[in-house]
Amino acid sequence: MELPMAAAIAVLFASGTYMILRPNLIRLVMGFGLYSNATNLLLITVGGYTRNSGAPFAGKDPKSAVGLMDPLPPDIILTAIVISFAVGALMLIICYRVYADHDTDNPELLPVDDDFAPAGEGAPAMTRGAFKAAVGRGDHPPAHGLSPTPRPADRHAADREERR
């Protein structure tokens, strides 16, 4: 049973890595979901899962431990699931806030924080794209450049500012 499990774990980890490396915030969160599933599969395999082994505490013969899988890995998996669920929810909220603030879900278009950025939002912040475009045109880089293709109205961010 180990070989198919290993293959499944490998595929999940590979696709998770691919998703995380995409420049897209939602794929980032989904990539971490795949990572967490891959990890849990790995832990099941570690617990000695075979086609014939029963779940812990519910084996064929409840009085003997023969044929049961190790009960500790499922325990670890339960904890890991709860934690990855909580962190995933938090990450979704942060991604939404980033999208609402900057009107883009592409992390590469977010302002680069160099010196002094956190002091206030008026600090100079510029994207690599805007910088390249400015350098290409030969003029001075703009002080503020968030998205190269600004969308009509940043409704979410405006609402949020009002509510604050």
Binding site: Y35, L72, I76, T79, M91
Partner: protein
């Protein structure tokens, strides 16, 4: 020793109460103050108790020893708990003057308590998977603290911080799985017993699993290739709390490295991890200090210095791979001493940075000029802390670097010692840059009438601590050496953990400790 549960229970309950008191801004501060002071008093009692009576342990949940989660307090744990709780008290008193009602409304103090809970948990737990849970609790608290105020820059940086730490968490669980598959236990004491007997292929598997943990801990500690998240994310943490971040959060990683790679993994070829760490430490020191030299933002300069300082501690853990037990003892006790020094001085510098920002109204040291005239007391505090960080003789920084350099020379690792000394000089350069731009020079602007005197008192406590630790170092070095001995020869630790869940009758019936510890006691490391 059921009271070992207190460093977890008190912050947890305080956090809950504070969450219910949301909106009663003054009452919240009173509750924080009482809870922190009480816990600080208790932890100082525990340090002296454990130093006198040896390791204490408590088993949770009624299972017997190697399966149940154990909370263990040996000397190293007590030192770390003392620093964590003491520093959280100081930092929270400092924030009484900086926190805004807006921040308090969004659960500033409850999240701080949750973070404290996670940090304490990471120090006191005796189980590797439980350490993972502690990390997550600590991280969730720190995500909240990082976003206190929710400005755009904070949310942006929190995203990076959450993402890189989630990768770390994944690797952590995978590492736990690999080690559990090979050794069959995750209890630290049991690991130390079982890995000592491993050779050949199985030892290789454990080394592979431990490398995953090394990546995770190095990520948390910000060791060389995994440093770039730190100088971006720490500057957005609210002032005051960034002192706690700078002092404690990376040191949780260093503590885990120390605990796991000096005490737990004893299989054949375990020195490989130490060699890797030694290699990384030199690069960490150099990159950290070079990054700091070209910055002008005071928070960023200090953040980059955290990285270079972590390099020294990682160097100590790397030197602990030596075959000579005397070198190992020097290296480990030097690392413990360095952790104490670093936590105190680094958080102190962040707190002073916060005051200097408030006095001058800027984060750019070129615009801070003349703070010496505006606030001479702050300048005095900064001078002591900065010289201590760079390793000037009367203060604690000198001794901690001296012990590590001694260990390096005794072990024949001349190159890394040379790098550490160069890093010390470059740190001095960077500190004198802050001094000459921010404190000397023309006054750039009028004082905004900022009130900062209340923030001085908690900062001064830390400055006094580094002076005392430098001049009256013997008791500190003594407890650091005894903590190193427990790590190197964990016989007592293992015995206490294994017997923690037993009743008196079981203990009497099983005089041989139920374990074959003789080889561990004699072999040492």
């Amino acid at each position: 020793m059921n009271s070992l549960i207190l460093p977890l229970l008190v912050p947890f309950l305080t956090g809950l109460v504070l969450a219910l008191l949301n909106g009663w801004y003054r009452l919240e501060k009173v509750v924080v103050l009482l809870s922190s002071l009480g816990l600080t008093a208790w932890i100082f009692w525990l340090i002296f108790y454990v130093d006198a009576h040896g390791v204490q342990a408590v088993i949770v949940g009624g299972w017997s020893a190697p399966w149940a989660v154990a909370f263990v307090a040996d000397r190293l744990t007590c030192i770390m708990l003392g620093l964590s709780i003491g520093l959280s008290t100081i930092v929270q008193i400092y924030t009484f003057w900086t926190v805004t009602e807006q921040q308090q409304k969004y659960f500033f103090y409850p999240l701080m308590q949750i973070m404290l809970l996670g940090v304490n948990w990471a120090f006191i737990t005796g189980d590797i998977f439980n350490l993972f849970v502690a990390y997550e609790v600590m991280l969730i608290g720190s995500y909240g603290m990082m976003m206190a105020g929710a400005s755009k820059a904070q949310v942006r940086q929190a995203l990076k911080y959450v993402a890189i730490n989630s990768i770390g968490s994944t690797l952590f669980v995978v590492g736990c799985g690999v080690i559990y598959a090979t050794v069959g236990t995750l209890n630290m004491a049991d690991l130390a017993v079982r890995t000592a007997a491993l050779t050949g292929q199985r030892a290789g598997m454990v080394t592979a699993g431990s490398m995953l943990l090394l990546v995770v801990f190095a990520l948390k500690a910000a060791a060389f290739p995994l440093i770039y998240w730190l100088p971006d994310s720490y500057p957005v943490v609210p002032p005051g709390i960034n002192g706690y971040f700078a002092g404690l959060l990376t040191k949780v990683g260093v503590y885990s490295l120390l605990r796991v790679f000096v005490m737990c993994f004893r299989q054949e070829g375990h020195e490989f991890a130490n060699t890797v760490l030694l290699f990384l430490s030199g690069l960490t020191m150099l990159f950290g200090v070079l990054g700091a030299m070209c910055r002008w933002d005071i928070r960023r300069i200090l953040s980059w210095h955290i990285i270079s300082q972590v390099g020294y501690m990682v160097m100590g853990i790397g030197l602990a791979g030596s075959v000579d037990p005397r070198v190992v003892q020097l290296a480990v006790s030097g690392t413990v001493f360095y952790i104490v020094h670093h936590i105190v001085v680094k958080s102190c510098l962040f707190l002073i940075g916060g005051i200097a920002e408030r006095v001058s109204g800027s984060q750019d040291i070129r615009q801070m000029g003349g703070a010496l005239i505006l606030a001479p007391g702050v300048a005095g505090l900064f001078l002591v802390a900065a010289l201590s960080l760079a390793g000037m003789p009367p203060f604690s920084g000198f001794l901690s670097k001296f012990v590590l350099a001694q260990a390096g020379l005794a072990g024949g690792n001349y190159l890394v010692v040379a790098i550490s000394i160069i890093t010390g000089f470059l740190t001095l350069y960077s500190m004198s840059k802050i001094w000459s731009y921010a404190f000397w020079g023309e006054r750039c602007r009028e004082a905004a009438g900022a009130r900062y005197r209340g923030m001085m008192a908690p900062t001064a406590v830390l400055v006094i601590f580094t002076i005392v630790m430098g001049i009256w170092a013997q008791p500190f070095l003594g407890i650091a050496t005894r903590a190193a001995d427990t790590l190197m020869q964990p016989g007592e630790y293992i015995q206490v953990v294994m017997r923690a869940g037993q009743t008196q009758q079981q203990k009497a019936a099983d005089p041989a400790d139920g374990l074959h510890l003789a080889h561990l006691r004699q072999e040492g490391r």
